[in-house]
Symmetry: C2
Subunit: 145 residues, 2 copies
DNA sequence: CTGTGTGCAAAGCATTTGCAAAATA
DNA sequence: TATTTTGCAAATGCTTTGCACACAG
């Protein structure tokens, strides 16, 4: 896993946003994981290294990162948001048992926004695709019982 | 729009759930609209006819209807849930400007759960597909300015 | 009649906001 | 130095819960 900070540096400079340790920490953490953590999870994960950072700051950092399109917000239907430092559109898959959220690479929906735009009277800009099922770990657990 | 109560009657009898006026009202209302209302909207819409029904009862009725698969819960990412009496899997399209949520009929993703199941190590049961854009009404409003 | 559902108010989470102090550019 | 951002606590919004009374089966 390669952590890149050149993009956050460039974008923040261009948008005249301040590059604080807190914002960098949140962005680095999101780049280091494929777990699609919630704000709470990010907060807890960073507490060891940033003990004074507050949960409100995590929320504010995430909001800023989403606004400048360095991070995307996911809503798998659990009542909270999850975050992903991969902003390119890609489907996600959620385990109904352990609530893990994974990326699906290889299957893309490129061109489908255009199809939907032609089919409806909307201008279509983006989409979110979520699959729901049971992951391999949870399948095994069920078998053991 | 045809309102059908035979399904709720059958399912509730089979699951030994009580068929109360409140539950019927919520289900009838959802069948009468394509607006994908929130609990709050359903509550307000039913207040004229059911002035004593509480918001908590609307939530409880919705939870029950979702559990017995007569209604599906949507989460377009606005921070609340919306409800749809059409339980067959179909994509939704959301206006980023006025937040209207529409159904997309005609484009289906049948078979794709199987593709994803073969591609990942999950058993895949369902999916949710959301498109985001600007509806025709909002496009016109923007032009007027 | 029995157990489930309703209505009310209070509680519970996730997220946002206001504001003084601190830190970036 | 001038803003912007942080951290704290309080506030907000959506949803759930507990409990006494009412009602469907």
């Amino acid at each position: 896993m390669v952590i890149r900070l050149d993009n956050i540096t460039k974008v923040f400079k261009q948008k005249k946003l301040k590059l604080t340790p807190q914002r960098i920490a949140v962005y680095k953490y999101l780049q280091s994981t494929t777990a699609h953590p919630s704000a709470e999870t990010i907060y807890k994960s960073l507490q060891a290294d940033y003990p004074t950072m507050s949960l409100a700051t995590v929320y504010k950092a995430l909001k800023t990162l989403v606004e400048v399109d360095l991070v995307q917000e996911l809503n798998v239907g659990e009542g909270n948001f999850r975050y992903d430092a991969t902003v390119a559109s890609h489907p996600h898959i959620c385990c109904l048992h352990c609530h893990v959220v994974g990326d699906i690479e290889g299957i893309t929906f490129d061109g489908i926004n255009k199809d939907v735009q032609d089919y409806t009277d909307f201008d279509v800009y983006s989409n979110q695709v979520y699959f729901y099922g049971v992951c391999s770990t949870c399948k095994e657990e069920v078998l053991k019982k």
